[in-house]
Subunit: 260 residues, 2 copies
Amino acid sequence: MTHRILAVALPPLPEVQPGDDLPALIADAWREAMAADADMAPAQGDVLVVTQKVVSKAEGALVDLRTITPRPEAVAFAERWDRDARQVEVVLREAAAVVRMDRGVIITRTRHGFVCANGGVDASNVAPDTVTLLPEDPDRSARQIRGGLATLLDRPSEDVPAVVISDSFGRPWRWGITDIALGVAGFAPLDDQRGRPDTTGRTMRSTIVAVADEIASAAELASGKTSGRPVVLVRGVVLPAGAGTIHDDVVMPRENDLFP
Amino acid sequence: MTHRILAVALPPLPEVQPGDDLPALIADAWREAMAADADMAPAQGDVLVVTQKVVSKAEGALVDLRTITPRPEAVAFAERWDRDARQVEVVLREAAAVVRMDRGVIITRTRHGFVCANGGVDASNVAPDTVTLLPEDPDRSARQIRGGLATLLDRPSEDVPAVVISDSFGRPWRWGITDIALGVAGFAPLDDQRGRPDTTGRTMRSTIVAVADEIASAAELASGKTSGRPVVLVRGVVLPAGAGTIHDDVVMPRENDLFP
C-alpha cells in the first residue's frame, strides 16, 4: 500500500446528449489528459468516477417538464414552498416511498432503495424545463462504461479501470452534501475489515468501510460542481478485491435499518 | 483550480500517550516525509487530517473500563447482544440523548450534537480495558494543533496547514462507515455555492458542499484503519474562504432536522 491517493479531473466533456457514446467521450478526455501528461496513462487500480448527471443524459433519463401535469398535492406543495410543481410531480412519480415531505424538502426512497432529496430528480446543469432522473440501474451503467472503456483503451485487462457512478446526497443531522456512489463496476464497494487485527492486535468487530463512497467524495473535491469536468481519475486506492454492486452490498435492506 | 487532489499518509506516529505534544509528533512525521520527498514541504492550501483516536489519546479522553460499574440497563443490553456492559455504560454516560438502542447498536446524540454509533466511544486501537471518548471540543483541538504547527514548522503564515479532526461514522440507509470531520481549523467547512451559476448559467438553489467531510473521506483512503498512520496530508483542495467550525456550521440544529 502506497498510502498515496491521487484524484485528477479529466478535461471537460462536450455537452452530453441522449444516445451519446459516453465511454468514447470519456476515452477521448482521458487521451487528452495523457497527451498533456504521460503519467495519466491507465494503470492498475485506477478508478474512473463519473457523475450521475452525464450518465443520465447519455441514457436519456430526462424529463421534459412541459409534458408534466402536476397532481393537486404537488401544486399545493410547490406553491407553499416556492418550487416548480411539475418537478415535484416528477419526484413523486419516481418515489417508491416518501420519507419526508416538509419545509420545501422532499426526501424519498427511490425504487433503487436510495434515500435522498428529490429522489435524485435534478434541474442543475441541464437545459431549462428539463430534469434528469437517476439512471435506471447505476451498477449496470458502471459496468457498461467499464466494458466500453475496455474496448476503447486497448490496454491489458488488468489496466481496465474500475468505474464509480457518483451523485451528491445530503444526510440527516449534518448540513451539506457529499458525493456518494450510486453504482460500481470492477471492485467490491465495501471493505469488510471485521476479523482483521487493529494496531494493538485486537480483532475489529464492526469495521466495514464504504470505500466506493469515499472514492466518490475524493473525486468531488477534484471536479467541483461547476467546472464541466464530470469524470475524475482516482489512483492509489487499495480496492477491495472481488466484485459487487451498490444495490446488493451498500443499499441497506429496510429490515436492517434503524431509521425510517 | 488545479483539479488535482493529493492525499498522502504521513509516516506512522509513535503510540500516543495522554499529555503528549501531538503537534510536535505530527511535525516530526511531516519532517520525515519531507526528508524522503522534498515535494512534501508545506504548501499553501495544505490540510492535515488527524484521526480522532490520537487526538483523544493525547488529550487524555480515555476511560479505564475497570473503574466503571454498569447500570442494570447496560448489563441487560450487553448480555442480550454480546457486548461489554462497561462500555455500554460509558456510551450512555456520554450521550445527550439515545436516538436508537436496538439489535446491539446504540446510536446517540453526543453533547457536541453528533449522531453516531456508540457516541464515539471506541475500543479499537487502544489498550485492553480502555476506550476513547470523543475530544471535548474537536474544533478547539483542531485550532490547538494548527497553532502548535504554526510555531513548529517555521513557515510563512500562509503555509500553515488547515487541520481536520476526522472520525468514522455510519449513516442511515447505507452499509459501511465513511470518515467525516469532527472539527476544523483554518477554513470554512462548507462551500456554499447557492447563487453561483451552474454550467448552463442557471443559478444553483441548494448546493452546499460539505468540503471538510469529503476531505476526511479522501484522507481515510490514504491511511486505512490499521496502518498506524493517523495523519494524512491533503493537498490541492479549493478550501472555502473564511473560518468556521463543525459545531456551528455543520452540526444541524434539532429544529432544522427532519430526522430524529
